[in-house]
Subunit: 193 residues, 2 copies
Amino acid sequence: MPRKTDARARAIATAVRLFRIQGYTATGLTQIIDESGAPKGSFYFHFPRGKAQLAEEAIDHYVASRISLLREISANTAGHALKFVHQIFAAFAAEMVASDFQYGCLMQNLANELPALDAELTKRVARGFIDSTEIVAEHFRECGFASARASSTAAALVAAVEGARTIARLERTPAIFQALADVSVRGWAAPKG
Amino acid sequence: MPRKTDARARAIATAVRLFRIQGYTATGLTQIIDESGAPKGSFYFHFPRGKAQLAEEAIDHYVASRISLLREISANTAGHALKFVHQIFAAFAAEMVASDFQYGCLMQNLANELPALDAELTKRVARGFIDSTEIVAEHFRECGFASARASSTAAALVAAVEGARTIARLERTPAIFQALADVSVRGWAAPKG
DNA sequence: CACATTCTATGGCGATCACCATATTATGGC
DNA sequence: GCCATAATATGGTGATCGCCATAGAATGTG
């Protein structure tokens, strides 16, 4: 009994896209169904629990791709902490430029909208951050960082990236990523340049 | 012809609160009017341009209080870059703890929801970030930072704070602010602890 | 009191929301 | 061809959305 259509996958991909651009609440099922190109009638066949289930799968899909990106960068910069950091900034900056700054971070959007709406989905987003932060921390440990320091550095990096995506989207330039890269080489408030 | 009631001010304050908790789209005018305690009928008397105008004033109100907070911290740490940074982290962390992590940043929420909805309001949010970043940059300049470095450090700091608020809200602990404080004293990827 | 202004109340506009019951068609394995 | 399942189509549920027209009540100054 294999899947016979890709309607399901397309609905998830469209949900990811629209949630990133417009947010969760602002995106109606009608629009997702329309833009996913097909069947209005079968939505609740594929997603019996409705919008919440669609969001679950959208989160999982997004988190998986985010983690695989981080893993790839980590592999490309094995043993080099600074290179790793810079390549992360560069990758996220490049993604925003490529989309003309239309796309926000799905996890960040949901992190802001879901706490008042759905505790279960909120936990799933939180888990996504924990998991992707762990990838980063692992890289730092492999660079020789002590465990505690690797964890806090990873958390700080992930937070900085999220903030940068917010700012970059507003300013429509990747300048903030460059600013973070600069700061990362000399510390935040080092006495002299 | 003085103002006779505070219905207007209460509507704005309620809008700020709900936009921070639930976001812009998820917050209906009905709820704002109800929770602001009063008059349903006079909403379009006070805000002829409707929800967009209310959002404008909510943004202005929030930005003003944010800037005044930053000014206060700047005055309290004149000449000390690191103290300034740490006190900013501490202040935002404390605010989140005090609200039991229910409140997000109004500007961040709107930054994620408005680009697809209202270009004018989006510009206003962007302006709010520019203005509050400038306060931070000014402090760094007064610490002797070169102009360009002061600007990029300020931008990085603002971005990091925003990201930290997202993470802290999900994790329901201010740990991320501590992580950022730790990183700020030693640089992001310094070779050894 | 007169009277303009400020504010509040009511009811409904069309549109959209998430959701679902029902019926029909396409597609497997046998 | 048979038949269960997978998938699509249609139409409508009640609720809520932002918005607004109209009318009435409260409040200030002359």
